[in-house]
Symmetry: C2
Subunit: 184 residues, 2 copies
């Protein structure tokens, strides 16, 4: 993993991959699967996430104001599904699913080192939480695997069925209005 500009986050979030979310509250670390999220602003990067009281990670997110969004590889469809179908209130998911982790900055939520990318986030706005369980996160640090620009992500089409990224279509020559967003 190498650290890059968090302003690159949109390349990972806009395509809509299923995500794993790690937290580390007073009852220890946890990880959940999340499908409802949105890039809200390119740079500085803001992400909206639906996480509710039905998620065991919810209280740790509110308590610490931090989480890590990890982007799983296409090969991880089974563990992504299983993580989403049990609760950290009952089991230690890191041990159960043999997840490789690395400590996050300042001992906060852990990175998942087998993933394509780990986005360290701070909760910056919960004004939307009451009505929609929608939390606004700012990405503070972005760590990526070497192959992050080509690795296949997973897209959840419902009911535990996924499509992985396939063919590449490069229409960049027709992207004339938005080139200022496309910085490396």
């Amino acid at each position: 993993m190498k650290e890059i500009d968090p302003g690159q986050s949109y390349r990972l979030i806009e395509p809509g991959p299923v995500l794993l979310v790690t937290t580390h509250g007073s009852d220890g670390p946890n990880v959940m699967t999340m499908g409802f999220h949105v890039m809200v602003r390119h740079d500085p990067p803001l992400i909206g996430c639906v996480i509710g009281p039905w998620d065991h990670s919810h209280s740790a997110l509110l308590e610490t104001g931090r989480c890590v969004l990890a982007v799983p590889r296409a090969t991880m469809s089974r563990v992504v599904t299983r993580i989403g179908n049990c609760s950290g209130a009952d089991i230690d998911k890191f041990g159960t699913f043999d997840l490789s982790t690395r400590e996050g900055t300042d001992g906060s939520a852990p990175f998942l080192t087998d993933c394509i990318a780990n986005l360290e986030c701070r909760l910056v706005d919960d004004v939307l939480a009451d009505r929609y369980n929608l939390h606004i996160l700012a990405v503070t640090r972005l760590n990526v695997a070497k192959d992050w620009k080509t690795a296949a992500m997973l897209h959840h089409v419902g009911g535990g069925r996924f499509r992985a990224d396939g063919d590449v279509f490069d229409e960049s020559e027709h992207m004339v209005l938005w080139r200022h967003l496309d910085h490396d």
Copy 2:
């Protein structure tokens, strides 16, 4: 196209495809490309969309409170990019890009009949619009092509580059907690 239960919308939106958005305001119909959107609630289906004053469609959405979200096929990457790189203030995009349309319900925003699906939406909450240009839409009707469950969608990874849906991973046997959402 056939009409199905709008409660199926999450199967099309949660995987994060790039979308086309049609509107029909007092200055005529328009279409734009959109990458920032999120499923907020399964059923009744709510979708959050970032559409701002920089989009020509913005005023028509506010004026009529309606739009159609169309899900393009993977083969449409070029037209999706070109639609997103010009303004309806300058040209008639439907004519320029030879888009096949069908009138929406009650003469509101048009369907794009070459797309995988068309979701007719009403703007139901703009409380988040001032801060994030995030509009909450309710899906009122959902029309899909015959192949909607297998057709490949497009995911924008930035700069006019896309990944199309590829391999299928079926982990439905491990989806034990959320089966109540998976209705046909």
